[in-house]
Symmetry: D2
Subunit: 106 residues, 4 copies
Amino acid sequence: MALMQLTIIPLGTETASVGEYVADIQQALEKANAHFQLNDMGTLIEGEAHELLNLVASLYELPFQRGARRVVTQIVMDDRRDKHVGIGDKIDAVRKRMKPQKASEL
Amino acid sequence: MALMQLTIIPLGTETASVGEYVADIQQALEKANAHFQLNDMGTLIEGEAHELLNLVASLYELPFQRGARRVVTQIVMDDRRDKHVGIGDKIDAVRKRMKPQKASEL
Amino acid sequence: MALMQLTIIPLGTETASVGEYVADIQQALEKANAHFQLNDMGTLIEGEAHELLNLVASLYELPFQRGARRVVTQIVMDDRRDKHVGIGDKIDAVRKRMKPQKASEL
Amino acid sequence: MALMQLTIIPLGTETASVGEYVADIQQALEKANAHFQLNDMGTLIEGEAHELLNLVASLYELPFQRGARRVVTQIVMDDRRDKHVGIGDKIDAVRKRMKPQKASEL
């Protein structure tokens, strides 16, 4: 099971805003029934690695279809085979480790 | 105003888990009264770029102090001078762009 | 035409070295007759975007086959539709822009 | 000793080219007598981590001074405390691991 962060950066666009490009990605992910979460730096998507790579391939042309002439696409895949990782799991793992120390601060 | 995503990856550690290392970073950010948000791929921090770079310098040694011999530290800074960007602003910008299309699907 | 940088980071391995994992990738790229160049932070590969994404899919399992239980795989794709980009082109573009300023320093 | 890869991506610029922005960085690194190497995806710089972070702080404003309103700056720091890492070292480490297998192909 893997978590992927997908970030797209269109270059040479009229404004410095990329919201429209990111909205295209979100809508495609909704249609694909993907399990995803938008954050301020990209979109987290959960799944098996080969499914996630196929998903990237299917989304890849969207920013060019909206008119971008150059796009930097960044993918970070965090894939564990020793345990399940899903959206929110790593945050939980960190919080568990913080509680004892917080308690000891009392 | 800038948004920074900070990700630390310790290598050659006994287990494949990095939660303890990330918890150190969270606790240091709390003590520094930083405006931050943990996600599954890293920590988002909001501030002026020079403040954020100073913050990175102050956090940088933490994973080594916990015993890591090799650490890959990744920083992505998204800095706009034409408008304010804070945690959550980009998500809002994307959602605004999605609403009209969603309505038209009805 | 696109340029891709591929970086693999295995976690929880016995040593902090990743050379063996990267060597697997290089050998697979040679066999695939890919146009690639290793640098200290990853491997640059040149091609059409869909070919490069297929290549990633075919390489993706290699670090797990060598025994890694967790791997962070990073892909940066820089894809231009307004002009050709190949390995070395961007370096040339920067050098051209540096020459006049250097001459004026005389 | 650490290796840092620095990548700058200006957004909302008139053309999709970033060569001028990268040339500014190269010239500043030359003046600073840094040990660096340009590749097609960014600039590799070698040094102690705190020196490299200071260098980033000193270069950080350059793209904005050239007129960019929004810049995505990416830093990847690979820092080992168990052995020396410099520009070219990791490439050598991979090549050493490839030789025996290549010989066996004969």
